[in-house]
Assembly symmetry: D2
Homo-oligomer: 337 residues x 4
């Protein structure tokens, strides 16, 4: 099958190219951009020489639909809310990696400070948290945010049994690639290196995304994010007040839920994962430890923000959409060391 | 005045040399070690050439007491519990940077798994959290741990007014210099770089130190520590459940408490500090932000683990002990960039 | 086909596992070690959970030969000189990633300060610089050193036409994974991070390896190595005094030589490669720029020391040995960003 | 005495503030900028809170001359060539940290692609390589470039005795702070981290600066620069073809020349310096090693590009200009670890 990528020169777009290069059934038919049109992608990114050397094309929906079976939007938020509409109207499959179709219109306006897509289209979108897909035949996928994925995978089973009732804490940290390719003060090497800095204090746009998909039973949570001096990787540390029985049940629940899931690895009890053990792979690794003295269950969830947190999960959704095994083309080992 | 350093070739010992090199009233009369005796310190650490080139000597208490006015122990835990005793017995001033004199005997045995100093000597020691020194004339100082300093400075004023009653969370992160100079798997570049890893899960020896000095009113707290891919710096993020009024009072309290303190800088409301803004200096910077929706006051405290978290605070204690202004020799700017 | 790995828990061994996990025709039948025997590899390296979970076994040649078609030695130098002999004697294929079979006995003694393998076996070994293999049917391969590969690939074509006659300079830099897994002072995070340090001054064991394989026409060269604060990657910068015509011919020669080679990418004239553009891949990227004013041709060669500089090239040699396309299982994209 | 700084919010300007904060005889009377006028410097750079909190002012020469005794220009190239003129005309002391007054007009136009200062003013400027100052009473100083300093200090004594006759090689590497504060693609964390990249191939503006100050006897040299993944520090590695006698004389010459110089430390023979041993200090450390086999003398020179390579040397020049000891306020220890 053929796919096209819009926004191929951003970090998520490049990661789609890297992953799909090894997918046995998928060909990248074309890549599209709003800048650098006419340039070969490997002129901009020499690592792709001899790997994938297509020319960046304009975004012309008819042309894309004529030659491909699905389009990925790896564009910043605010683009696909408009640009994806012609595809949806035409009944053509879309996987959107941005935040444009993850929230309802009101929330989107508030947290993104941008004009939301028309509600008709927002409703058509299925949230693409791959391990919890409702309708695997959905043709329009809002691929989840990187932080949201790292938080929802450990939390959803626990919250759906209403084990976590009190306010809890999420202390999340991400590498710099999560902040995008456009140079600014925060991603200047001198500011990010040898440093740790909190950002978007109580204002991160993944807060409403997590709330929404935790559902009506969502307890309150405090969510803060820090920028780590590394390129790839997220660690979300969750602190849940729980009774001993509640903690034990939570651990069981996660083990049960993910026993048959390829890309979520629950660590042995008390062993907490490190960021490095997932980099370059589609795994989300989760470790748990209960402290009887404080009554806190600590859950540590790590993933590669560009793979399971973006392009990898998008390919997982593509696989599901087209009836392939969800792990097709995604079973590469993390890069260690 | 003259001082001597035992354990001069470790990171805290080297930092004492760096700081005291610019102290107007202090001369380093001698440096002592349990290894590399007879070598010049600048053969081991060429950055000290022309700065300080003394030879490492054996630890002979009589000799040290004959030539100096105070001795610093910058040794690993388990050394000064024995080696400092002759000095204390002789009434000679000691500032110990290790954990050997911070806990009572029982706690020390439990958390350090080592033989504690005799209780007679433990009781003589004053805990050297400089901003909260009880008896500035004390001659024997247990210099606080780096994490403990970063946590106690923001917490003590709040806890002493009993504002924090519930269990709260401390998510603390430290650079690799905190883990010491002896090469091991955790501080191997390949394991620490591009990584984030939790360690000493519910078992960090600064937990009982924080509990002890918060005093009888100490609420329960969950304390976890991570290793950051950088050399110097600690960030401790505290999440306290508080009412709006409690949060407002806490902020006021910190501003009042530290208005006249040189080395604790309270950031403007809502502005959180980064690690880099204190590196190389004796400052502890504290920022606060209250989230009305979750009822959580987030406090972020940063310091350089080798300065305010070790050698800098030790010099601050030396200054107090000998009647100098506490900031003498310590007013250097952080290194930025 | 089946292979076995001796020394599976070192960085090169782990990289063999990572690469072979995606090889369509190769199964890792067993992994062997001189330590941690009886442990599952993913207990030591949790990134391998669900990827490859075999137990580390003792090194018993008969057993390995019974179940596999080829054995890799990913052991430190000084091991395979003895341990590989039973396999060679039995006519069983061996690919050795260490330096034990790359030099003649005299050079090996001098540069490695270890006892060389018996000359009978040294002679049987083929040097495995894949793009210049003499006898693709050779069953015993001395896989080249990482620096040597980065230097020989650009130099061999130029030296074989005797274009470089004068003494030239090689300024080579490597990431820390090249220094191995055993913790020591040089690979302590605090010493390697934020630093650049030269090591093995005029004494690097790849000097005689490069000299030997440049052949009788080898000109003199000055070779120095530095440790870079990153995990993977080598950059070798070569400065060759050449006439304008000689430089032009050198550039042509490299372009011609590698036009049909999958894993050596010659950059467009004047464009120099960066380390990041090859990390995670088996590519060696080479850029050239001639300075008419100084008469110096600068050649910059980059590769991932664990892939093209070790495990990747070893798999390339395996492919050649067993009649597969040399790129089988190796055509993954570099990881960028 | 009082000084003023123009361009106080750039890296060199901030470093002037850091260094002068500890200078016993100098007060920073005012700071000036072309942007952010009216803001307090510590609002932009919170590390300066309680250290130095002045407001950024417009650049009004009369006002600066009325209140100060000397003005530093820590502006990008292209600014002081015009902005410094009123001061020079008025006979007021100027220390310029940019490249605007280091070359003759023709060279400047060619290498900087900017309009040079009027030749009248170029001639008035003294090149401020502190250890080789010609006229210590000069009031107008062109402070040297960071790379140029690291290269000229080891080379000048050797070249002035005409020991180096052939073309030689300089392989120089710098941390990212050398590339300035304005965010761009090269200093984006994701591009600089875990990478090594050559830049300004045969086009670095310090080439003509080095040539000029080596003087008429300047041999040809090939000069290339790379960007290191660290913030502060330069290492310049020089490869000089020399006879054994020439090498021995060169080593002697450097030892003699710098025996009485505070800020140049010649390492013991064969011991090469690392970047980390000078960071935060005004030292330039130089190591040498001769390889008899290749006939190459390798010289490794390291310094902190913001201190000895910029602000520190500028203060050294200030000290000389006003008759103080050149080391006043500059004798701080490097920061290690």
């Amino acid at each position: 099958m053929n796919i096209s990528i819009v926004g191929a020169s951003g970090y998520s777009g490049l990661e789609l190219i890297r992953i799909l290069h090894n997918h046995p059934y998928v060909t990248i038919a074309s890549i599209h951009n709003y800048s650098n049109v006419g340039m070969k992608i490997n002129q901009l990114f020499p690592h792709l020489t001899d790997i994938y050397e297509a020319t960046l094309e304009e975004v012309i929906p008819e042309q894309i639909m004529a030659q491909s079976d699905c389009v990925f939007f790896a564009t910043p938020s605010g683009v696909s809310s408009l640009a994806a509409i012609p595809f949806i109207k035409a009944g053509f499959p879309v996987i959107d990696l941005s935040g444009d179709f993850r929230l309802d219109a009101e929330s989107y306006s508030k947290w993104y400070s941008k004009t939301p897509a028309d509600a008709v289209y927002l409703e058509k979108m299925e949230y693409g948290l791959a391990e919890f897909r409702q309708n695997v035949e959905a043709k329009w996928i809002a691929n989840p945010g990187c932080y949201a994925t790292s938080v929802l995978l450990p939390l959803l089973p626990i919250v759906s049994e209403q084990l976590a009732s009190d306010t809890f804490i999420i202390d999340a940290k991400s590498g710099v690639s999560g902040a995008g390719k456009v140079p600014n003060s925060a991603n200047h090497f001198v500011n990010a290196h040898d440093n740790l800095a909190l950002y978007k204090i109580n204002a991160h746009q993944h807060i409403p995304e997590i709330e929404r998909y935790l559902g009506e039973k969502s307890p309150k949570f405090q969510f803060l994010t820090s920028l780590l001096p590394l390129t790839r990787g997220i660690m979300s540390t969750l602190y849940l007040p729980l009774t001993k029985a509640g903690a034990r049940r939570s651990i069981e629940l996660l083990e049960e839920t993910y026993a048959t899931k390829t890309f979520v690895r629950i660590q042995p009890d008390g062993q907490l994962p490190t960021i490095k053990q997932v980099v370059g792979s589609n795994f989300c690794d989760i470790g748990l430890t209960y402290n009887e003295k404080t009554g806190i269950l600590t859950i540590v969830s790590v993933l590669d923000n560009l793979v399971k947190g973006a392009a990898g999960q998008a390919v997982q959704n593509l696989n599901l959409m087209f009836g392939m095994d969800e792990s097709t083309g995604l079973l590469q080992s993390p890069i260690f060391p």
